[in-house]
Structure formats: C-alpha cells, structure tokens
Amino acid sequence: MEALDFALGLFDILLVFLVLSLAWLVMSSEDLFRAIVLFVAFGLLMALVWVRLEAPDIALAEAAIGAGLTGALMMAALDRLSSVKPIQKVAASAQRKQLSLSSKVLPLIALVLIVLGLGYALLSLPEIADGLTPNVKENMAQSGVKNPVTAVLLNFRGYDTLLEMVVLLLALLSVWSLGGERKLSPRSTNPILGSLCRVLVPVLILVSCYLLWVGADAPGGAFQAGSVLGAAGVLLLLSGWHVEQKYLLWPLRFILILGSGVFIIMAAVLLLIQGGLLTYPVAQAGWMILLLESAATLSIGATLAALFLGGVPKSRVDQ
C-alpha cells in the first residue's frame, strides 16, 4: 500500500510540474501557434488533474471544452488573424523592445508575492472541512437524480444554471451584434475529412445522448453532453457543412433559446403551482430535470457551434 501511495504521489508531483511548466510556456513562448498547441496540451493535463481530484464530471467537461473546443476556437481565430493582416508583426515587435527590465521584473515580483500571500492563506485553512457534503447527502433522496453534481446543478442550485444559460446566450448575442455575416465554407473536397466526418459526427451525437442520459446517475449531464454536441457541430462546420438558408433563421434561433426558454417557463410554471422558483414536486423532479437537461444540451451544442462560426451564419446558396 505504501508503494502505491508513493507511486501516486510521484504521479501527482510530475503532473503538477507538467501543468505548471505548460502554463508558463503558454505565457512565455514567442510563437502564437506554439502557445495555442501548448494550451491544448495544458487542457489535456488539466483533465487528468480533475481525475486525480475525483471530479470525473469536470474531467468530462474539461476534455470536451478545455482540451477540445477552446483549442479549436483559438486555432480558428489565429487562422483568421493571419489572413486579416500580416503587417502587424513589425509594429508590435518594435514596441516589445521598449519593454524595459523594470516592466517585466516588477510584475514578476508581484507574482511571487501574490503566490506567497495566497499560499499562506490556503495553508491556514482548517485541515478538514465538510463544506456542503452533508447537506447534499441528506437531500439527495428528494432531488430526483442520483448523481450529486447533477443534483446541485439542476436542483439545489438550479437557479445558477438558469442564469448560466443566459450567459451563454448573451455571449452569442454579443458575437452576433458585432455584425458580419459568416458564410458557411464550401463543402470540403477532401475525401479523408469527409469520411472522418461521416464516422465521427454520428459517434459524437451518440456519445452526447449517452452522457445526457447517464448524467442522472453517474458523471455526465447537460453541459458535458452539450459540449460534445457542440464539438460535432464544429466538425461539421470545419468540413463544410451545408444548411439551407431557411433553417438558419427561425429554427436556429429557436434551438439557441430553447435551453434558457424551457428553464424560464419551467420556473414560472413551478412558481404558480408550487409557489416557489424552481421548486420541483419530489415525485416529478426526475423527468422535469431530464426535460430541462435535454433542452439545455441542444442549446449548448448549437450555441457553441455558432460561437465557433463567429458571426451570423449565412448559407452560400444565396450568393
């Protein structure tokens, strides 16, 4: 047993070292492409950290978002950045020279001080603290689900999740209000990409449904399922997916607001019936939560894919 603990301890220390050096390299490497590759690697290792911290729900979300979608988003942005304007290099590098030693050393000293101060604060926290574990355990039977994280997300603190859906929608509204229609790229002529897509997209959708369903009892749930669905959407967009213009107006908008809409309507209905915001009747809580999660999954998937597109989508047929 001791040897096992030792091996795990070694694993932890190596992992911490890797994560920290990756973060530092993301900040310090000169090349932006390299920084993004390192950031994706950082996300992968963060998912391992979540596993070590017994947080498989977060590991799933991180695997889908931190290591997957964010990387794809950054890569696409870098791609467009270099196609927009290659002249900036000169001006920026000229400005870099002006950065004197003091403007780098002072923040570095501040960084060390912050780490020391916060570290001291952390170490003076009590060794053992239960947090809200007992409260969650006590009320699990009334929550309608068996996975404690899902119970917190959709029931105990469901109101936060409602507002979170609004945040997601707001990000998209803000992106769209920046203007600019983005044409869906032409269907890719690359046969490898096409066949990859044909295999991967159905699998991703299937996995998404699985995560949604399993989320009630085991790690998984709407956010993870939605992220995987969003990844399927990103893959379709990358391979030049073709949608008719008519689906891009009303139906798309409807799916985008479905998650927050169902949440708000459910909240209002429960307020009328139960006299409380998002107070589920215990017997019905299970399917109500599943309904909310299904709507949220669709919206999250659609929103993430639309965010990846980065503008109001427009089909090429119209051109």
Partner: protein
C-alpha cells in the same frame, strides 16, 4: 495489479514530458501538431490505466470523450496547417 497500472501511468506521464520538449523545439508546424496528438493519445492511455486501477466506468467515459475530441482538434489543426504552412505570428 493496481501497482502495475499506476506505474505504467507514471511512465506514460514521464513520456509526456518528453513530448512537451518536442512541441517546444519544433522545428516545423507538423512536428508540433504531431506532438500535441501524441499528448492526446497518451492522455487517453493514462486515463484508461487510471480507470482500471480505480475500477471506474466514469473514467472510461472521460477517455472516450478525450479520444473523440482529440480528433476534432486534429481537424482544426490540420485545416490551419494546410492554409498557413509556415506561419509565425510573433506577438
């Protein structure tokens, strides 16, 4: 048995450190991308080993999502590499 899984996971993690060096050194975009892909594959392997060690189904799910998403990032990377073969954006 558990000890074996953990030791293997540790070994693979050490492998990642070497892979990181490849990302840093380059020299080409393709090297970096392949190294990043190696990261993904190794991480999946580590996850499966940890899943076996902990007898946890949830970790197998995580490995599955990892593997799938690695493919999506790969496509995003490849698209980028095709369109800009020797891009160097210095900030």
């Amino acid at each position: 048995m558990q000890m074996l899984y953990i030791s293997l996971a540790l070994f693979l993690l050490a492998n990642l450190a070497v892979g990181m060096w490849r990302v840093l050194r380059g020299p080409g975009v393709a090297d970096r991308m392949l190294a990043a892909q190696l990261f993904g594959t190794t991480a999946v392997a580590i996850l499966l080993l940890l899943a076996e060690a902990a007898k946890s189904n949830a970790l197998r799910d995580v490995a599955l999502v990892f593997a799938l998403l690695a493919a999506v990032t790969a496509v995003a990377f490849v698209k980028r590499a095709w369109s800009m073969p020797e891009a160097r954006d210095i900030d």
